[in-house]
Each structure stands twice: as C-alpha cells, then as structure tokens.
C-alpha cells in the first residue's frame, strides 16, 4: 500500500506535480489531437485554411512594405523575406491567442477533473505548431518557385524553433493564468497580437531599423526570434545583430521561467475562481 502514498496539504504539491505531469504525458497529445480533429470540422475547404491565411498575409505585407514603402531587402526576394519572418510570428501569435483562452475554453475540465493544468495551454501551443509545419511547407514551395537555395544554416533552424516555443510558452502561460482571474485579458491579447505585427520585423527586415535604435528595438523579444529564423532560412544574405539577439534570449528565458512560476502559483486556485 505504501507504494503510492500521497499527501495533500496546502502549498505542498511541487514534487508530486512533475511526477503527475509524467503520468499524464499522453494527455498533451490527446488534447492537441482533439483540437486538431475538431478544428476544421464543418468547414468546406478544411486544412487549406492553414495555407490560405499565411499566404494572403504574405501578399499583403509584400505589397505594403516591399512595393509601396519600397523597403530594402538586399538580394532576397521580398516574399521570401516576409514569409521567413511571418512563419515564427504567426506561430507565436496563434499560440498566444489559443493558449491564453485555453483554460477558459476548458472550464469543465478544470473544475471537474484533476490533472496538471499546464497541459492545457501547452497542448494548444502544440496545435499552433501543427499550423506552423503546414506553413513551413508553403515557404518551401515559395523558395522552390524563386529557385532560392538555403545554405548550411538551415540546419540550425530547429534551434530557433525551440526559441519560438520558449517565447510562446512563456507568454502563453502568463496570459492563460491571468485570463482565468482577470477576464480583461481576453481583450488585451488580440490587441497585443495586432500591435505586435507592426512592432516586430515581420513585414520588413530589422536591418532597416537605424543602428542607434537596434539595441532598444531588441527589447521586443520577437525581434530575436524572427531575426534568428531569417538568419537560418535565408542564408548568407541575412545578418544577425548578435547583441540584440542575446538580449532577446535573456528576456525570453525570464519570460519563460516567470511564466511557469506564475502559472504554478495560480494553478492551485484555478478550480475555485474559473
């Protein structure tokens, strides 16, 4: 009987938590699988939406920033420049919106069953990652169209995907936990996402930002993520601003660690206040 002894006491669950997380590891997959299955039910063109949305965004951004504003992209075709930035940005913004709403949408689970709550926002990020993979195929198609061959740096891409994950998790956990308590965040998140598209180098290369402002610009951690993606995908043509990248990395780590901590702290009251 002493094999699974468990003591429930106010504020004394930390060690058990990570063990439970391991026990429920398949739930990450099942929740993501559910959301993916349900997502395109009763739609006419189904999964094509995952292609059409980024494609149209790319065209609009290319026209606005590349053709009307005539921003510089070096020798890189503007659509590729835009798409290499759009890829992490869309992943981040989708993950942020989905995960911040995830707990609210799963209220019935939170108030009726026990499992480590961190699974809910995390699996909604996994869902956004599936969209990301589909968009990545689209980028590969565009690169073939333009005959654009990436160099060795493309192999470092998984590293930057990991960084994007860190960003999405950090922001997502913060917002998911805050949203349970203060529903105000339901209105704040769409605003962050909309605003972020303009203050992050999605439609343009961060090279167009004047040098004296670049360090300040790097305080937006998505600058580091997007620059990293461009550096890996576009190869030799694109340069990375290392001091800025390091700042972004530090900020993202802080965001992630504090996100996990805040979520853990708030988690024990979720069932009472949701």
């Amino acid at each position: 009987m002493s094999t699974k002894r468990l003591v429930i006491k106010a504020g004394k669950t930390e060690g058990q938590y990570w063990r439970d997380l391991w026990h429920f590891k398949e739930l990450f997959y099942f929740l993501a699988w559910r959301d993916l299955l349900v997502r395109y039910k009763q739609t006419v063109i189904g999964v094509s939406w995952a292609l059409i949305r980024p494609f149209i965004t790319m065209i609009v951004l290319t026209i606005v920033f590349g053709m009307l504003a005539k921003l510089d992209s070096g020798d890189i075709p503007y659509p590729i420049l835009v798409f290499a930035g759009l890829l992490p940005w869309q992943f981040f913004s989708n993950a942020l919106s989905e995960s911040s709403n995830s707990l609210i949408l799963n209220t019935n689970l939170v108030s009726k069953v026990y499992f480590p709550r961190i699974i809910v926002p995390t699996s909604s990020i996994i869902v956004s990652f599936a969209d990301f993979l589909i968009s990545a195929l689209l980028l590969a198609g565009i690169m073939i169209w333009y005959n654009y061959v990436p160099d060795w740096r493309i192999f470092t891409l998984p590293l930057f995907i990991g960084v994007a994950f860190l960003a999405a998790m950090g922001g997502g956990l913060w917002l998911a936990a805050l949203n349970v308590k203060y529903r105000d965040f339901r209105y704040i998140v769409p605003f962050i996402v909309q605003f972020g598209l303009y203050i992050s180098p999605v439609g343009f290369s961060s090279g167009v930002v004047p040098d004296e402002w670049r360090l300040l610009y790097s305080l937006n951690p998505m600058v580091g993520v997007i620059d990293g993606f461009r550096w890996a995908i576009l190869g030799g043509e694109s340069q990375i601003y290392w001091p800025g990248f390091m700042i972004s990395m530090v900020l993202l780590s802080v965001l992630f660690i504090s996100g996990v901590r805040y979520f853990r702290k708030m988690e024990r009251t979720f069932a009472d206040i949701i």
């Binding site: 009987m1 699974k4 429930i8 398949e26 739930l27 069953v113």
Partner: protein, 441 residues
C-alpha cells in the same frame, strides 16, 4: 485493522465570497483587474494619510466562507462510504479536495492509492467527436494511458451498449446513450479509490442499476474503496456500509447508513420548519440570484391543509427580484422524503401557457390533477429559470404529508415502502365476451 487508505486530518477549505463595500453589502464575484488597481491606489492613499496623520488604516474586508472546517476521518480499503447532507453542506467540496481539483486551506489528506473521480458524467466529451474518439479522449483525461484504453476498449463498448453508434459524433446521441458511454469509460478505470458525485441521477433505471452493480462489484471483489455522494437514500442504504452526514462544513454524524440517514432526515425537517414562510432567508440556494423564491405553500386545491392520495395540489410560490423576468419557467419537483426519489415533476416548460415577461414580484399558483401518491411524506425542490438558466434553486424547500385515506373505497391501502403511485383499476376474468376498456368504468 490494516492501514487506512484515506486519512483526513482537520481539513478546511475557505472561499472568499466578495468584498464588503462601505455600506456592508457584499459585491458578488471575484476581484477584477479594476478592483486590484483601485485597491492598490486606495492602499497607497491610506498609507500616505496614515503616515502623515498617524492614524491606523482599515483594510478592506472580504467575506469569508468556510465550505469545510475541521473535518477528520479515516477510510479503510474496500469500504463503500456514502456522504449525505443538504445542498451547500460541503459534500462536493470534500470530493473536490479528495480528487485534488482544489487545494485545502488547512489540514492534510493522506492517500495510499490512486484516486479517480467522477464528479460529472462525460467530462471532456467533445460533441463533434465520435463515440470511439471520445472514449480515448475521456480515458486520457481521467488518467488512463493509451495502451490501457486500447486493452479495455471492447469491454467499455460492450458495457455502454452503443456499439452501433461508435462512429457517430456524440452530439447526435440521445442523452441516455451519452451517459451510458461516459459511465462506461469511468467504470473501467482501475483506481484504488473511486470518488463519485451524484452522477447516476441521470440515465435510465436499468442502466443506473447496472452502474451501481458495477460499483458494488468493484468494491467487494477487487477491494476498491468507493466514496460517493447521493441524494438518493435508497442507494446509500443498499450500497454503503458506512455513511457520513455533513452539515455546514462539518461531519455531524458517522455510522451505519440507517442511523445517519434518519439524522439527515431530521435535520431536513428542522430546516424546513425553521424557514417555513421565510424561504427568502435561506442561504443554501444556487442560481444567478437576480430573483428569489421568497415563500411557498402546499395545500389541496380547495385550500384545505389535509392532503390525501386523491387530492389535487395547489402549490403557491412567491418570488421577488430587481428586474422583470424574461421567458420565465417554474418547476416544482416532488420527491419521496425518505428515499429522495423523484415522483412528480411539475414544470411550466412542459405545460406551456406562462406569459413571456413576468413582473419583478409576483405569485405563481400551480394546480394539479389528483396526485395519486401513496401515503407518506414528500418534499419539494423549487426552481425558477429565465430563458433556460437557473436564477434560483431551492432544494428541500417545503414538505407535506399525504395522509392515509380510503383511495380504492375498499378500506385497503398500499404504502410508500412498496410503491409510490396509486391508480384506480379493475380486475376482470376474461370471458368469451370481449372486454371493452371504456366500459370497464
């Protein structure tokens, strides 16, 4: 005796209901971001004033509510424990603490085994997914691994009796099928401790029996421990070896089910007597609360106090609220007092005919056909709904006794221990002549 499988030591759970404003009224709900900001600003202001003037500051007070307080007990392996108590006595909170959905404020619980809880039927079912997909999803949510679910899949399907509809989205299921599938998944969990809230109130009788049988089997043959909450006294009586009575967050009585049940019934009686004609003062109610049922009365249709099996009932309900009620619905459900089993549901949605808008304050009268209930005590649960959402729900609002009378005109009578309903009838021996059912009366 072996080591207890559950040990609960002085457990307590506190909820904060809302902030008391200066007038002393409680603001509903939880603090919003704005509240936090104004609180912060006020604190800063008061702090400044108090440092300057040397006066003490008064902190804003929140109304606290202890859903459970100083509860201790032990459960041994293989025991089936029934938990009874009124609405708001802390039963659900206790189950939530045991299943780790929420944390205790004080005290500790020691569990010597894996807990699975079934607080709601079909938690996490997704209407768009098929029965098959939902079995996997629900299983995973309840803590089963994929291989475990695969192994038991056929057994689950057989238990649920929905083989033919496995690939149909559950949104097309009847509510009975839905419940069957959901319980089937939960019934095949293999925890050491099973915690069950009143989930069997739904579903048909035959399936309820099957589920109770399964729970009994689980406990007796496999040595599992079961804790469950029910308003159905008959179930508690037949299934449990031991029962707890919870009242106002404390354990009031522990013992063999018959003794605990009668203590529970006594407490119900005193509750209903105390608040007779003062229903507005009762706090153990649920719903939005924008309007309240403030009084209720049962008499026979002619206004007499004595109610007999062939009486027509007149139920009078007074309500009051701040706003007009759009699309109001009223329901009064009559239960057998001792067993907690529903006998008659009187629901305005079934009969129709109520106005679309009700004034802020008013009186509803419901008159029935002869009730044909066997003699014995009944209680009534009252619900007031607005466009389908519950505004006010009062469990055990009032009770009445059906007095013995000569229902059949033969001096013979059946009693409540055996059946609930009475019906005029005739017995005939079939002869060569055809019996005309209409002419029989």
């Amino acid at each position: 005796m072996a080591e207890p499988i559950i040990t609960v030591n002085n457990i307590g759970k506190k909820y904060i209901l809302g902030k008391k404003s200066e007038s002393g009224a409680i603001k509903g709900g939880f603090p919003t971001l704005r509240d936090r900001i104004t609180d912060g600003a006020n604190w800063l202001k008061n702090k400044t004033i108090s440092t300057l003037s040397g006066k003490k500051i008064v902190k804003p007070t929140y109304k606290e509510f202890w859903a459970l307080k100083d509860v201790s007990f032990e459960v041994h392996p293989g025991e089936i424990i029934g938990i009874v108590g009124r609405n708001g006595a802390g039963k659900s909170t206790l189950l939530k603490l045991l299943s780790r959905i929420t944390e205790p404020t004080t005290g500790e619980i020691i569990l010597n085994g894996r807990v699975a809880s079934l607080l709601e039927v079909g938690t996490g079912f997704h209407p768009e997914l098929s029965g098959r997909e939902n079995i996997f999803l629900n299983g995973a949510i309840l803590g089963m691994s994929r291989s475990e679910i695969k192994k038991k899949f056929d057994e689950i399907v057989a238990f649920s009796e929905v083989e033919k509809f496995l690939d149909t989205p559950v949104k097309r299921y009847s509510s009975g099928m839905y419940v069957r599938l959901a319980f089937a998944v939960a019934a095949h969990l293999e925890p050491d401790i099973l915690v069950v809230d009143e989930v069997l109130a739904v579903g048909d009788i035959a399936f309820q029996k099957k589920c109770l049988g399964k729970m009994d089997e689980v406990a007796k043959q496999e040595g599992r421990t079961v804790l469950f909450v029910s308003h159905n006294m008959e179930t508690v009586q037949s299934l449990c070896q031991k029962a707890y009575l919870l009242e106002a967050g404390k354990i009031k009585e522990v013992g063999a089910p018959p003794a605990v049940i009668s203590a529970y019934l006594r407490s119900l009686e005193s509750l209903m007597n105390t608040y007779q004609g003062k229903l507005a003062q009762r706090e153990d109610r649920s719903g939005e609360g924008t309007s309240r049922i403030i009084a209720a009365k049962v008499e026979d249709a002619d206004g007499r106090k004595v109610i007999q099996a062939d009486s027509r009932l007149r139920i009078t309900i007074d309500y009051q609220g701040k706003n007009k009620i759009l699309h109001p619905q009223f329901s009064a459900t009559i239960y057998d007092y001792n067993k907690g089993i529903g006998i008659i549901s009187l629901h305005s949605e079934m009969t129709g005919g109520l106005a679309q808008v009700f004034p802020e304050k008013g009186r509803l009268i419901c008159i029935t056909e002869p009730i044909n209930i066997t003699p014995g005590r009944c209680y009534i649960n009252l619900t007031l709904l607005k466009s389908g959402t519950v505004i006010d729900y009062l469990q055990h609002a009032i009770y009445f006794d059906v007095e013995a009378s000569d229902f059949y005109g033969t001096g013979k009578l059946q009693d409540r221990d055996w059946v609930m309903c009475l019906r005029q009838h005739k017995w005939l021996l079939e002869t060569t002549e055809k019996i005309d059912a209409k002419q029989a009366y």
